[in-house]
Structure formats: C-alpha cells, structure tokens
C-alpha cells in the first residue's frame, strides 16, 4: 500500500485582506507575514535595476488630503519599484476644494479603473469609510490621531532587523502620545508581537486610560529610559495642538528631550528611533539624532521595503467578495 500524501505541502499563511487600515485588527501572524515579505523585498532596492515586474499594469493612487513628503514619496517609490503606475493627488489641487465629497472623489477614481488607493486624511476613519465604498484596495497612510500602520510596520521591521526579535524587548514611546497615530499603531503592533511598551510624556499629552491598550505609563523621562532597549521619540507637532498643551518648546526639551547626558543613562545597546521629521534640539539633540545609536535613516530605508510588501500583499487579495467582511 502506498501512503497517501496531501499536495501541495502544508500551506503557510496567505494574505487575504483587501485593505490595510490599521494594525489593531491584524493578527500577530499577519504582521509577521508583512515583515517577512518586506525582508524579501529589501534586496530589490540594492540592485542596479531597482524594479521588478510584479505590479505591472496596476494603478496606485496616492490620495493625500493632508500634506506629506516622506510617506508619499516612500509609497511612490515602492509602487514604481514594483512596476505599478502611480498618480499623486493632493487635495489642494483637486475637486475637493470645489466641494466634492470624499466618496465622490473615490468613485470617480474607480471609474477610471484604479487598483490601490493610498489614503491620508486629517480625520480618523476616512480610509475606513473609503474602503467600505471602494472595490479597490485601500492602504491607510495616516488618519488623524488614529493609525499609521505602515509607519508602525517599518518601526517593527527596524527593531527586528537590529535586535533580531521584538518579543520581550522594552520599548518606550516618548512624546505626544495623545495626538500620535504613530504611537497608537506602534502600541498595537508592538504588544501583539510581545514587546513591553511604556509610554512617556507630559500629562497633558498622555491620554487617560491608555493603560487599557496594555502599556505602562510614566511621566518621568528617566523612568522611560531606564532598562529600555528602544526609545521611540515622537515629533512635537508645534504647529498643531501642542502649542497650548506644553508651556514652551524649551521646557519640553528640558523635561523630555534626549540629549547626550540622558543618552548616557540608557542601556549601552539602545536604539533611538523617530518617525521624522525631527525637531532638532526639541525632542532629540542633533548629537543623538546623528549618533551611533540612531537608526532613523534605517527606518526610512526599511519603509520602502515595508510599503512594497504591503502593496504586493493587498494587490493579491480577493477583490469584490468579502469587501464588508474585510473592513478591518
């Protein structure tokens, strides 16, 4: 008797979601699949010909209702290196300034047969709204103070690259936790992968009951530094809300800025991370931002591979059916 075998061999997890709206509803396995795929895409940007044909004939739209340089260019290069065609729409130059609704804008884009919408908006939930009305894939590139999944994924990727793991690491997120979509996506991603997360900032910038997300809270910077493997600094967005919530940038720097002396109290293999753009001399001194512990530019490099991975994965997901079911 011959033995019966099942072919093909055991299938690894496949990506089936049409959209990437946030990390909150992703499983640890799905996050690991994105990180693993990003690892495979890294080498493409080191080739003499930095392009693979996998998204040939697909159209990606960068639909940015809020200005962005780094994220938009990162998505644009990621799409181009996968051979997709990409269109950039900045709201200032679109019909939205003539009163068209977001959903109408999307319907018009879809009437021109686009495949992936990369959406940034100042209001939380807009990418989710668009995803419900669109048959094309939607990638959240930042919605209000809610989520910025690709930023958190590239942060996770960078931590894993530098520390070979995420689980069990002590990671302190420092700055304006209340208004940061980067912080929120990172908290979900890091805790799902088993890291110990501490958030730190002035009481006016740390939302009450944030402990419910599974993080520790401290208002003292020295406590956040002590024992941390990674310090993730957030930008003080002085052009926005914070103007009223911190007395002055000078005072913020004195209490929460990382300078050489504070860095000296950290673990000898600390990683300094920042989503950019850095306010030099506020949350980070130049010496630290440019120093040997900083991986800020690695984050930018890795962002490209992570966004290539996300574009690749969502482009292969089933399109029409289960649009509702995949809303998260």
């Amino acid at each position: 008797m011959a033995t019966a075998t099942t072919a093909p061999a055991a299938q690894a997890l496949r990506w089936t979601k049409k959209d990437l709206l946030g990390l909150r509803k992703l499983s640890a396995e799905e996050i690991r699949l994105i990180l693993q795929t990003a690892g495979s895409f890294q080498e493409i940007s080191l080739r003499p010909i930095k392009k693979v044909p996998v998204l040939r004939g697909k159209t990606v739209v960068n639909l940015f209702f809020e200005p962005s340089t780094r994220t938009r260019i990162s998505f644009e290069l990621a799409a181009k290196r996968l051979s997709a065609d990409i269109v950039n729409i900045a709201t200032q130059a679109s019909s939205l300034s003539k009163g068209e609704t977001v959903v109408d804008t999307v319907k018009n884009l879809e009437a021109m047969k686009v495949d992936i919408l990369v959406v940034r908006h100042a209001a939380a939930g807009v990418p989710h709204l668009i995803a419900r009305h669109a048959t094309s894939s939607v990638i959240n590139a930042g919605d209000g103070s809610h989520e910025h999944p690709t930023q958190a994924l590239l942060d996770l990727f960078t931590i894993q690259q530098k520390k070979q793991r995420v689980a069990g690491l002590n990671i302190s997120i420092i700055g304006d936790i209340a208004h940061s979509r980067v912080a929120r996506s990172n908290i979900w991603g890091l805790t799902k992968l088993g890291a110990n997360v501490t958030v730190c900032g002035p009481p006016t910038l740390v939302p009450p009951q944030i402990e419910q997300l599974g993080v520790k809270v401290t208002y003292r910077l020295d406590e956040a530094i002590k024992g941390a493997d990674v310090l993730m600094l957030l930008r003080i967005q002085h052009e926005r809300q914070e103007a009223l919530l911190v007395p002055s940038l000078r005072e913020y720097r004195l209490r929460y800025g990382i300078d050489r002396d504070r860095l000296a109290t950290a673990k000898p293999d600390i990683l300094i991370m920042h989503p950019g753009p850095v306010n030099r001399g506020v949350e980070l001194d130049s010496e630290v931002a440019d120093g040997p512990f900083s991986v800020i530019l690695d984050q930018v490099t890795n962002g490209l591979a992570v966004r290539m991975a996300v574009l690749y994965l969502v482009s292969g997901a089933p399109k029409v059916e289960e649009v509702e079911a995949n809303g998260g």
Partner: protein, 191 residues
Amino acid sequence: MTEPAALTYREKAKVMDADAIRRALVRIAHEILEHRKGPANVALIGMRTRGAILAQRLAKEIAAIDKHPVEVGVLDITLYRDDLSRIGPNPIVRATEILFDVTDQHLILVDDVLFTGRTIRAALNAIGDLGRPKSIQLAVLVDRGHRELPIRADYVGKNIPTNLREQIDVRLNELDEKEEVVITVPVEAAA
C-alpha cells in the same frame, strides 16, 4: 506549477533513491566542468526551494573534483511569475540572495524539476534585471516533459516521462527528511 487545491495524491512509483540522486549530481558536476573547461567563471543559481539545495550540493561536488570554490546564489522567482493574477492570494515572496555580480559570469540555473518551462522563463527575466551574464545554462534533477515554452535543460539528472495528471515529488534530506524522487497520482474522489 499545477495547484489543484487540496487534491490528495498517492505514491505511484519511486523513480530515484538517495544513491541515484547523488550519482546524478556527481555526473552533472563532471559535465559542467567538462563543458566549462574548469570551474573558473562558473556560478550556480539555485531556484527556491529545492533547486537552492541542489545548487549547494552541486557546488560542493564541483569543489571536491576541482579544488576550486564555486559561487552559489539563490533566486526566488515569485515576482516574475506569469500566473499571479490567476492563483488567488499572492504567494509568499522569499529573498533572492545573489551576493556576486552576475555580469560576465557563466551562470548555471539549478532546479529540481523541469516541467512547463514557465519557472525558467521567470528566472531568465529575473536574472536579466540583475545584470548581463556571459551565458546561462540550465541543470535539473528531473525533466518530466510537457514544455509550454521553447526551453530545454543542458544538464539532466534523469528524464522521467509523465502524464499531466501525475506529479513529481522531489524530497531532499535538508527539507523533507527523506531522499527520493517519486511519481504521485491523484486519488480518485470516489475511492
């Protein structure tokens, strides 16, 4: 390349055992050296997953015969497949690891089974994006026929005539804890 979802296969015949696989690789190593007149300027590119294992073994055989190390790279052709829009969720992409410059090299692509030729077509396109080799040849452990593209192997471990319903399973110690090549056929649903 055929992916009939969740069909159950049973073993029909074992066509190579561990000795046969080893002898085939030793012979191919000799053929490569004879054809290339020595190991200089030969580099092997193994195709994930089992082709990469076979390429490592071939390199070892060549080095043992001619006391000359041979470069080995690993190629993942997922991003160059022509059936991505037809097979459901996108397959997992694994890394391409070719740490040497392929330009002006005499490359030998190594795979376990040559079937339709579509994987090799994808590999040729992928290599074209990495540089301009002087030549590319193809070594396979098994050629099972049924080509859909004008592609042939330069070095063949064993020709195994098959019909389209059958499947060739190459099992290698490194991955499968077995060392054999078997033909399997689908178990009829009614049975």
